[in-house]
């Protein structure tokens, strides 16, 4: 496939993802014209680019769907659940066609026929309620909208200008049949707008003539259209209104930065207040807007409008500054991976250089090495940040999953998200998708009750699933919560007993009981459904999260709901590690898991009477002697070190000979020969060129546990 076609596919996939989000939002707010426009534009762009790159089947199919949304856009057809369903199916079909290696895929006539039937159904079409609608309404809806964005842009001047439009209609405007909504919409179509309607002239009930127009508008418009084009919008009503259009900002004013005029300046310039009154008022200490309103110099509406203008211009200037200084390019993800690998190599070489420089005692070389160290650190941070993506990219895909699954199961579920801007490494996000899908499926299938059951329990008929992401040091916490039935620890215990996962004498805390859900083959579902409950899954979920060097925890309350918390590292490429030594070999433990380090002397060992436990401030902490696990024969030092880490809420120690210190660990995967060594999650190269293995503390604790059990049994 040539590069252009690849670029087309990537862009189309992105548009389809946006389209899905827009359609789901539209289902919730069917009257939102902006969303209808977004859906139409996405369809229009997919159609245009598909035709351009020879994907005719996709272009033809999308054209049919776009046609229906053109009818919706013109206000002649309402947005219904059925329409959204069909549009989502159409979106899925376009994606399927894109997935095909060639572009000779079949059109899905069934979806098109259903859409056409829906759009030709007279009952579905909106009846015009406003008989006195603006003349141009009907004209606009009949104009073919097949001009491409490129064609539209060709006729526009390239300079972006911000205008202040003051539109003050005469009282009889509405009676003469003008629809201000249409005028405002036409202005909005010209560019970015901030619209403030002024209500100060609306009289009280006893005085109002309800057919008269009392509202007037201040509109701030940033556009590359001319004043004439703006005035043309009002051409049919120029005798029925007072209209001023002034330029207040334009390209080239970037030297002033993002800051814009002060509120008082704007009000004086607009002749809403006089400068001497402003000066008198400024003597007082309150916020200017409040003071002006309190002193009846102007009303709240005008202040609000001026503030809106200030805000609009600031935003425009910020955007302009960003556009001129940054911009963006599309880069192949594989190239980014290579870049990260190379930076990893550089970090290793730089560590080696620093070590050599320190031993050389040559101050010039030490200085250069320090410079290289600083630059490498900056390069590393910048490179890692390039691969960071907001978690919202994955959250948005779950909205569809929740919608479809809840429909399938006859449940009502609302999705709530928070912290969508939290960033994670692209690879973590990609590998997080499957475990999260499984957890969400479980929430809907087992957690959220049916509307009837919920209402009987005094809950709202609709359940809620919350996806919340928050930063926590070098990790990100993702909390997936439902307000469903909760998990019954007794049921878990009885199933675990039945399946032989635990024996009757075992006493478990609540957390330990919930952790049984992660045992292979465990399932609390009474029936097997297509959604979940096949007894495979949660163990796979846990393994997938652990493969990302993350952890998963469950909290639940019967009748209230369940929260699963995933703790994930920000990145998989470079971690902060703790370098330790055992018998002249080096190992790295992830620093984020380390709680503290304590000494282990002969006296401590005697105190524990042969058991592998350490006393830390009156707490008993079991430890794993890594020397024994790795069968290292060399003599151990008199004083060993215990590195205490937290695993699943419990403290466990790992005994090593020496602690070297913190280490920037560039993670390298182990070769095929070491695939079976599950206790190591990778390796890293040290400054002197030697290799240190990275310990998987979780698996090591499991291994130690099973070895201990075998010893007891024998």
């Amino acid at each position: 496939m040539d590069k252009q076609q690849q670029a087309y596919r990537e862009e189309a996939y992105e548009l389809l993802a946006e389209l899905e989000v827009s359609l789901l939002e539209l289902e919730e707010t069917p009257d939102d014209d902006d969303l209808i426009d977004q859906v139409f534009r996405a369809m229009h762009t997919i159609k245009g680019s598909s035709a351009m790159f020879g994907f005719d089947a996709i272009a033809n199919f999308t054209h049919e769907v776009e046609t229906v949304f053109d009818i919706v856009r013109s206000g002649r057809m309402p947005v219904t659940k059925e329409l959204v369903n069909l549009a989502l199916q159409a979106r899925d079909h376009i994606k399927k066609m894109l997935d095909m290696p060639d572009n000779h895929s079949n059109e899905n006539h069934e979806i098109i026929e259903k859409l056409q039937a829906l759009s030709s159904n007279k009952d579905a079409l909106k009846k015009t309620t406003n008989k006195i609608s603006h003349e141009s309404n009907d004209i606009e809806s009949e104009i073919p909208t097949d001009t491409t964005p490129d064609q539209e842009e060709a006729s526009e001047p390239s300079i972006t200008v911000t205008y202040r439009i003051r539109f003050n209609p005469h009282p009889k405007l509405l009676i003469y049949g003008t629809n201000p909504f249409q005028l405002i919409k036409e202005i909005q179509e010209l560019g970015d707008t901030t619209i403030v309607a002024q209500t100060n002239k609306i009289p009280n009930l006893s005085e109002i003539i309800p057919e008269n127009c009392y509202i007037h508008w201040d509109i701030i418009l940033t556009t590359n259209h001319t004043v004439e084009t703006i005035r043309d919008v009002f051409i049919f009503i120029e005798d029925e209104c007072d209209l001023t259009v002034e330029i207040i900002d334009e390209d080239g004013e970037i030297e002033y930065g993002a800051d814009y005029k002060k509120l008082g300046q704007i009000l004086i310039e607009r002749k809403d207040i006089e400068s001497n009154l402003l000066k008198e008022t400024l003597v007082k200490q309150k916020r200017l807007g409040e003071i002006l309103v309190e002193n009846h110099v102007t009303d709240q509406g005008h202040v609000e409008s001026a503030l809106a203008e200030q805000n609009h211009i600031r935003t425009v200037r910020e955007k302009r500054k960003q556009d001129t200084s940054t911009g963006s390019i599309r880069v192949d993800a594989a190239k980014l991976d290579t870049l990260v690998d190379l930076v990893g190599e550089l970090v290793t070489v730089q560590a080696s250089l620093s070590q050599k420089a320190m031993t050389s005692e040559d101050t010039e070389i030490i200085g250069i090495a320090e410079q290289v160290e600083r630059l490498t650190a900056d390069l590393r941070d910048n490179t890692m940040s390039i691969r960071m993506l907001p978690i919202s990219t994955t959250f948005s895909t779950f909205k569809r999953l929740i919608r479809d699954l809840s429909d399938e199961l006859g449940k009502e579920v609302i999705m709530h998200t928070e912290g969508g801007k939290t960033e994670l490494d692209k690879k973590v996000i990609e590998r997080l998708n499957d475990p999260m899908v499984h957890i969400i499926r479980n929430c809907i299938d087992h957690g959220i009750e049916s509307p009837d059951v919920r209402k009987k329990a005094g809950k709202p008929g609709s359940g809620t699933i919350s996806l919340v992401a928050i930063h926590s040091g070098a990790n990100v916490l993702i909390k997936i919560s439902d307000d469903g039935a909760g998990i019954n620890p007794e049921s878990i215990r009885s199933i675990a007993l039945k399946k032989g996962i635990i024996t009757p004498e075992v006493e478990l805390s609540e957390t330990e009981t919930y952790n049984l859900l992660f045992a292979p083959g465990f399932s609390t579902a009474k029936t097997v459904s297509d959604i979940s409950g096949r007894g495979v899954g949660m163990d796979v979920v846990k393994r997938s999260i652990e493969a990302l060097r993350g952890t998963i925890e469950i909290e639940s309350e019967i009748g209230v709901g369940t929260t699963m918390t995933l703790k994930l590292p920000l990145t998989l490429a470079i971690i902060d590690g703790l370098l330790v030594e055992i018998g002249k070999e080096y190992y790295v433990l992830p620093l984020s898991a380390v709680e503290e380090c304590v000494e282990l002397t002969e006296a401590d060992r005697n105190r524990s009477k042969g058991r592998n436990i350490a006393w830390v401030r009156e707490d008993i902490i079991p430890y794993v002697p890594l020397r024994d696990i790795f069968q290292i024969q060399k003599p151990k030092p008199l004083i060993e070190q215990v590195v205490i880490v937290e695993i699943d809420g419990a403290m466990i120690g790992f005994v090593v000979d020496n602690i070297i210190g913190e280490h920037q660990t560039v993670i390298k995967s182990l070769g095929r020969v070491y695939r079976g060594a599950k206790e190591f999650s990778g390796a890293t190269i040290l400054a002197d060129g030697s290799v240190a293995l990275i310990l998987d503390v979780h698996r090591l604790s499991l291994l130690a546990e099973s070895l201990e059990r075998k010893t007891v049994e024998s």
Binding site: F181, T199, N204, S206, I208
Partner: protein, 114 residues
């Protein structure tokens, strides 16, 4: 579209079930005035609101302001009012602060009150 006093006799409810457009704003004004005469507290319940235009929106503003000035209250049940909210947003009525008459900060168009 009608106004009814609640059983308690302390408040009344205006139920809206048809478009609030220029054709029927006069009828609506009469209903608002009736409610204003009879009660100190009125609830607005949108059973259905197929459409609302500028005349309808500004009549609501006038009614709300009139009630507030007279120390009376007018509460809107926003449950079925997505059309009302969207149209107000589109025409630029939604704002951070209410007008100078709204001492109680209960302005119909305040973002927080939606």
């Amino acid at each position: 579209m009608n106004f009814q006093m609640d059983a308690s006799g302390q408040s009344g409810t205006i139920t809206i079930d048809q478009p609030l457009t220029i054709e029927n704003v006069s009828d609506m004004k009469a209903i608002f005035l009736d409610a204003y005469e009879k009660t100190n507290h009125v609830n607005i319940h949108f059973q259905a609101l197929p459409d609302i235009d500028l005349a309808g929106l500004q009549l609501f503003c006038s009614a709300h302001r009139t009630f507030t000035e007279a120390q009376k209250t007018m509460d809107i049940n926003w449950a079925n009012a997505s059309m009302f909210r969207n149209k107000a947003k589109k025409i630029g009525l939604i704002r951070h602060r209410g007008c100078h008459l709204e001492k109680s900060e209960s302005c119909l168009w305040r973002q927080e009150n939606k």
